[in-house]
């Protein structure tokens, strides 16, 4: 790839903005490029980035999923309360969470793939359904985690001590999950026929169908994958927080959509890269963590998220309009 192409991509600009923001925080507080702050940022990023990768796959296919925080919360709650007396391997906890998420995602996929309903409306509905089941049927409340999950949450890859602020930050083992997921999603999207199918149905569903892709199967896969991932991440989140709080993932759907949009996921579907999504999610996560460091009240966080969505979508919408009008004027010449 040459340099000229690099500057045509949204990701490049977002990356530049991200670096500028980091230097701004460093200049204001002197605390950004310290070992423990970077580890804290990576820690805060883990959950959000994993969700965002799932959302990215959905958005590349031309859909949208706002139900994954509800799926994650319900799976997390069921795993940590119903398996409280279970003392097996931690992997079983993650698999149970993923399985629950898979089932809930399958409902999304079935409704969207079979009936062609609008993904946003379906996932709004299922989100309400899952939240209601968690709070109504299971009367959810904050609860204590099983010992196995606590042990996993306390495990660390390494820790960094900052002598200046006297703070110690641990890098959680779950950061490895994020790295594994990046490889998995990269392989899926770049090296499998299924991955090409996801891009194909996002670009043009009818053409994809005529080209021989089974659209229903692909959509089922996408929402099941996103659901299973949500369930898995829900359990990871509980481990990291050392606590099962069913309400603390509310609102992450909007942040992830913002991250994807920021990372240059095309509005019409059919394009979008892992790099872009990761840069987008890093930007948002660092922004919300660093507002305090640059002396801005955290009350402003939502305003910035909103502005970023509007500016991000605005830029790519503007590019599409300009491209279209260029094609028209070229055709006329």
């Amino acid at each position: 790839m040459n340099v000229k192409n690099l500057f045509k991509r949204t990701e490049t600009y977002i990356l530049i903005a991200l670096l500028l923001f980091c230097f701004l925080v460093q200049a204001c507080s002197g605390q950004f490029f310290t070992g423990n702050n970077l580890v804290d940022d990576a820690r805060a990023l883990t959950i959000l980035a994993m969700f965002a990768l799932g959302e990215m796959i959905v958005m590349v296919s031309g859909g949208i999923d706002v139900s994954f925080p509800a799926i994650a919360a319900l799976s997390m709650y069921l795993v940590s309360t119903k398996m409280y007396d279970f003392h097996g391997n931690i992997i079983i906890f993650f698999l149970a969470g993923a399985l629950l998420g898979f089932i809930m995602g399958a409902l999304n996929g079935f409704l969207i793939g079979r009936f062609h309903f609008i993904p946003l409306i379906v996932t709004l509905g299922t989100s309400s359904l899952y939240t209601g089941i968690m709070q109504g049927v299971f009367a959810s409340h904050e609860s204590v985690l099983p010992q196995t999950m606590l042990d996993f949450g306390n495990a660390k890859l390494f820790s960094v001590y900052n002598p200046k602020s006297k703070l110690n930050s641990n890098m959680p083992v779950s950061f490895l999950f994020l790295l594994a997921l990046i490889v998995l999603v990269w392989f899926l999207l770049r090296h499998t026929k299924l991955g090409r199918g996801i891009y194909a149905i996002g670009g043009d569903m009818n053409s994809a169908r005529r080209a021989g892709f089974n659209v229903f199967h692909i959509q089922m896969f996408i929402y099941c994958f996103c659901g299973a991932l949500a369930g898995f991440v829900g359990v990871t989140r509980a481990c990291m927080m050392l606590d099962c709080d069913p309400t603390n993932m509310v609102g992450m759907d909007m942040t992830c959509i913002a991250a994807c949009v920021l990372g240059g996921i095309s509005l019409s579907g059919g394009s979008g890269t892992i790099t872009g999504t990761l840069i987008g999610v890093t930007f948002l996560s660092i922004m919300s963590n660093s507002l305090i460091l640059i002396g801005v009240s955290t009350y402003w966080e939502k305003v910035f998220t909103g502005l970023i969505i509007i500016i991000g979508t605005g830029i790519s919408a503007y590019q599409v309009t300009r491209k279209n009008s260029k094609t028209v004027s070229n055709a006329l010449n």
Binding site: I118, G132, M254
Partner: protein
């Protein structure tokens, strides 16, 4: 598609809409009977109907706004937060100028505050409309963005807590009952619904909005100014949101940034249940109003069971939305099969 065939297709749409409306009326009667049988001693009280009539305008007015945007082929996910933001700004205005009821200008200040809140609604709507019509951001993403922004601004303005202490006169007037049977909030809802109904069925703009929702390209080639009408749609939706915000604020004489967060989902449910096609082009006010009443009957009856948690409502709304979508789908399939 020329204008004539568009008009013909609108006529056929109206007919199918009527079928949908008749179906809704059956559902309404069934739900009414169900509620009356399950809780005869409380549901059939006049006081129950009065309290229901005072509650539903809150989300009823919001549903009208969301439905209009859906009919035009768009989506307005920011309505709840326009309502909260405009109410908060109006409340700040009142608190600054009329901290208590003793001021002789209280009434004037309240009227001015109402104007301020409507103005905020118009500005928010203009902003949505501008992003969607001029910048060409898909409506859903644009209003997700503005939703976060309006919500964030409301948090910044209130510091995350709720505002109260507005002049008593305001909530007294808004919560009063005219002629002993008509709550003021219901009156506002009726005015909104009637105005929207006339706008959609009797004015040129109304039929043009249906056209845009059915096929935006065709309507453009038919000489309709799509951009202007889209902006108008979101401005109307913004004004309705501001009115809903005023009603919400009067209900508890307070307002906060995250009031009625779940209303977005409920309003989409009402619109879809009322026969509004989420893809645009279909839907009318009488269907929406019937759906609102059905939902309120169910909700009030559910409230009468003390041992059922409020959270079951989320389950029921979510499930109802999916079921209504599927039923509509099956009916459409049958209709298409019959047409062939």
């Amino acid at each position: 598609m020329n204008v004539k065939s568009c008009k013909a297709s609108i006529h056929s749409l109206l007919k199918t809409d009527d079928k949908n409306f008749i179906r809704l009326l059956y559902v309404l009667i069934a739900v009414f009977l169900l509620c009356a049988i399950v809780k005869p001693e409380t549901f059939l009280q006049i006081s129950n109907f009065q309290s229901m009539a005072a509650i539903f305008p809150e989300f009823g007015i919001l549903s009208l706004g969301i439905s209009l945007s859906l009919i035009s082929g768009g989506m307005d996910l920011s309505v709840v937060f326009i309502a909260n933001l405009s109410a908060i700004i109006a409340a700040k205005f009142m608190l600054a100028l009329a901290p208590d009821d003793s001021s002789p200008y209280t009434l004037l200040i309240i009227i001015a505050a109402i104007m301020v809140s409507l103005l905020v609604g118009i500005i928010c709507g203009l902003f949505n409309g501008f992003l969607i019509a001029k910048i060409k951001i898909p409506a859903m993403l644009a209003t997700i963005g503005t939703q976060q922004m309006f919500w964030g601004l409301a948090i910044v303005l209130t510091g995350g807590s709720s505002l109260s202490g507005m002049p008593e006169l305001y909530s007294t007037v808004m919560n009063s009952t005219l002629f002993n049977f008509l709550p003021v909030s219901l009156l506002i809802f009726i005015i909104c619904a009637t105005a929207l109904s006339i706008f959609l069925s009797k004015t040129r703009y109304g039929s043009e909005i249906y056209l845009i929702g059915t096929n935006a390209k065709a309507s453009k080639y038919a000489g309709i100014n799509n951009d202007q009408l889209t902006i108008l749609t979101y401005v109307i939706s913004g004004v309705f949101s501001a009115l809903a915000g005023l009603v919400m604020m009067a209900g508890s004489n307070s307002c906060r940034a995250d009031y009625g967060e779940s209303y977005t989902m409920q309003c989409v449910l009402i619109a879809v249940m009322g026969g509004v096609n989420p893809n645009g082009g279909f839907g009318n006010v009488k269907g929406i109003v019937t759906a609102i009443v059905i939902l309120q009957f169910l909700s009030s009856t559910l409230n009468m069971f003390e041992n059922i948690s409020n959270f079951y409502r989320d389950v029921i709304w979510g499930a109802a939305l999916i079921i209504v979508l599927i039923v509509n789908y099956i009916i459409n399939q049958r209709r298409e099969a019959a047409a062939k």
